[in-house]
Symmetry: C2
Subunit: 158 residues, 2 copies
DNA sequence: GTACACCTTGACGTATACGTAAACGTTAGG
DNA sequence: CCTAACGTTTACGTATACGTCAAGGTGTAC
């Protein structure tokens, strides 16, 4: 009979292995990203267990996407993301009645980073589309060649 | 006064440094790709200098694109490309009067690989577009938030 | 309160993708 | 034929991104 793993405390926080499973990462990677300053858990338990909230998980998922799908290095990713220090400041300070000017500055900063992220991803998509075009052109030539061969083949090698 | 580099022999072949400059690679990378079986030069000089033709350069450019733009590992790239042995066979054998059945098989093989390349690149584009959507959604929320603040800010932190 | 799964912080190991230097051969102009 | 720029192979070095222990603390069910 299998032992139940001590149930994860019905909290809004997840522990590192739960986060890792949900996102398809390893705990080592998550700790490494923290080491690089890419993200820090929203909280720690009394015994200093890392505790992640929904925003952490979203951020980690984005990091994974940038790494796996977009193929960015972790250095590039850290350039692309808001630095974690700023994020912590925002998370902790924004809710307080900071003065309106500073609130605006925080949001505007996030917005400009998000716009940069969008541009960079779109640029990458454009480059990939150019590659697809090249591949499709080659495909067209090969299909023509195949048709020729089936029709009783003429022609030289390309 | 600068010495002229010994002019590259008015041949249809390029030497490794010329190829590297043209594509923005290093000679080390090119040799490394050869070591991994990703490509081999069309010819060697008497003194065993590597000599690349247009098809080699196209292939190398594609490899660079797959690495830089698509972010694939060299292992993935070698899975994606026709293996170099087959390419050499094609280059050398196709022009000869191989029998029609084999010619057809060679072209059909290339075609199916090219189709796979196209699918994989399109998949990657789709994943990137999903990321862009997520980023744009976040951008929309931030813009709304900024408008709120400018209108005299209500609301909680997201 | 004890067991067992889970966590912590080091710290060393490893695969990938090259960089870099050594020792030596090649090519082409003068 | 000599020389400067370029190439060759071999081999060791390095940055990145983790994997994998080790030694010890934590959290919850029983």
């Amino acid at each position: 009979m299998t032992l139940e793993t001590p149930s994860p405390a019905p909290s809004r926080f997840l522990r590192i292995q739960e986060v890792a499973s949900e996102l398809g990462l390893t705990t080592r990677s998550i700790r490494y990203y923290e080491e690089l300053g890419l993200l820090s858990p929203a909280a720690r338990s009394d015994g200093s267990y890392r505790l992640y909230d929904a925003s952490d998980i979203e951020r980690l998922g984005f990091i994974k996407g940038l790494r796996d799908d977009a193929g960015f290095s972790l250095a590039e990713i850290s350039q692309l993301l808001e630095d974690e220090a700023a994020r912590v400041r925002t998370r902790e300070a924004y809710a307080q009645t900071v003065d309106a000017v500073e609130r605006r500055a925080l949001v505007a900063g996030s917005l400009s980073r998000v716009e940069r992220q969008s541009r960079i991803l779109r640029d990458k998509i454009a480059r990939l589309e150019a590659m697809v075009s090249a591949v499709e052109a080659r495909r067209g030539r090969l299909e023509a060649r195949l048709a020729d061969l089936d029709a009783g083949g003429p022609g030289e090698v390309r």
